[in-house]
Amino acid sequence: MSLWEYANPVKFLNLSTRALPWVSALSVICLIVGLIWGFFFTPDDYRMGSTVKIIYIHVPAALMAINSWFMMLVASLIWLIRRHHVSALAAKAAAPVGLVMTLIALITGAIWGQPMWGTWWAWDPRLTSFLILFQFYIGYLALWKSIENPDSAADLTSILCIVGSVFAVLSRYAVNFWNQGLHQGASLSLDKEKNVADVFYQPLLLSIAGFVFLFLTLVLIGTRSEIRIRRASVIAARKLLL
């Protein structure tokens, strides 16, 4: 039973019915425990005071914003190369989730920065690149909505996603070059030895897990609805012929 078996829409529907309860349960647990632990049981940061608690929503949302675009890129490549409908529809289902995650990252980033930078919006490279990513999501969804034929819509949006990814990376460096960063160093970068102090670390990992599972749950549900819509239009097309 190779991985590509799940690419068949009907099989995917049955399979995801079994997986859905687990994923959604996991996401609820991780989210609740992670956020409550981070919100109530961690000390204030000596410099940032209680605003450090925003880390538990800003960092996971930012991570998910980037990873969901990456997932859409992979799904688009799979669609273009192997023509599996499920991956094209999964990319379509992931877009709104990625959009909202980017929005959350932007807003919480701005709120978190306000006490430090003294302004509601700072043209900080990282925040600005999330703004650019937000525009890419808008463009991607707009293109999906404006094409009737589902197959060419999947093709065109996949190509846009690939080209968009190249330009997203380009914009990331262009924005970095354009304004030296105000943003705190990467809280979770793998190369740096000292990450965030341990006491903040565990709840952060947990809320990240929560966001990841939430993303998976929403994308699973979204893909299932896209498959049903396609199925309905295919049935209608067949009825038209008889």
């Binding site: 068949n8 829409p9 009907v10 409908h85 034929n149 197959d151 295919v234 012929l241 008889l242």
Partner: protein, 205 residues
């Protein structure tokens, strides 16, 4: 065989129109495809010329052997007749546009702007473009639309001439085209597909 089509299946926006279409076309032959509107004749022609991917089946023909003429004949109103033809002559790198001009007697219209031509003259200019491509297999979609009697006989003459020097023609038309002995007719009705959706949308059922 200049062109052979085996079990071709063609769809439009994930709805199968024609399935298992098979026919062959030898040099010097013409084939007229008949069938009601909306059957998918244009889609079939576009699939054969490669403008549209077919669902399944094979199209065996020489490399770059198709010349396609459809309703939209690619005529630029702001260019003169000669400039229009010269553009296509450059693209298909064939320098001699005079034979095409005389074949459809557009000589005296040579320096007139295509925008000023009548519908019939514009059609003739679009068809003259076929000659310029000097490609063996002509694929014509309703070539005799908006042509008067005289132009139709002219069209028939040109096609017969093309057939004599080894070309082939695949024509979709409602009107009658008398192309002499080497012309067959094929009705596409029996390839009409009505058992439902065939193409990869089938995966959704």
């Amino acid at each position: 065989m200049v062109l052979s089509v085996l079990d071709l299946c063609v769809s439009r926006s994930s709805q199968v129109l024609l399935a298992n279409v098979s026919f062959e076309l030898a040099a010097g032959q013409a084939l007229i495809l008949k069938g009601p509107n909306g059957l998918g004749k244009t889609t079939l022609l576009r699939a054969i010329t490669g403008l549209q991917p077919a669902l399944s089946g094979q199209i065996i023909a020489g490399e770059d052997s198709f010349a396609y003429a459809a309703h939209a004949d690619g005529v630029k109103p702001s260019l003169t007749v000669a400039e229009n033809l010269q553009f296509w002559a450059d693209i298909f790198d064939n320098q001699d546009i005079s034979s095409a001009l005389s074949a459809f007697d557009l000589n005296e219209l040579k320096s007139r702007f295509a925008g000023m031509l009548s519908a019939g003259q514009k059609r003739r200019l679009g068809l003259a473009r076929m000659l310029i491509t000097n490609r063996p297999v002509w694929v014509l979609d309703e070539p005799s639309v908006s042509l008067d009697k005289a132009s139709i006989t002219q069209l028939e003459e040109v096609i017969k001439q093309h057939l004599q020097n080894g070309g082939a023609a695949l024509i979709v038309t409602h009107g009658h085209l008398d192309l002499g002995s080497s012309c067959r007719t094929l009705s596409l009705d029996r390839y009409k597909f009505n058992r439902g959706v065939y193409d990869d949308a089938e995966a959704f059922l």
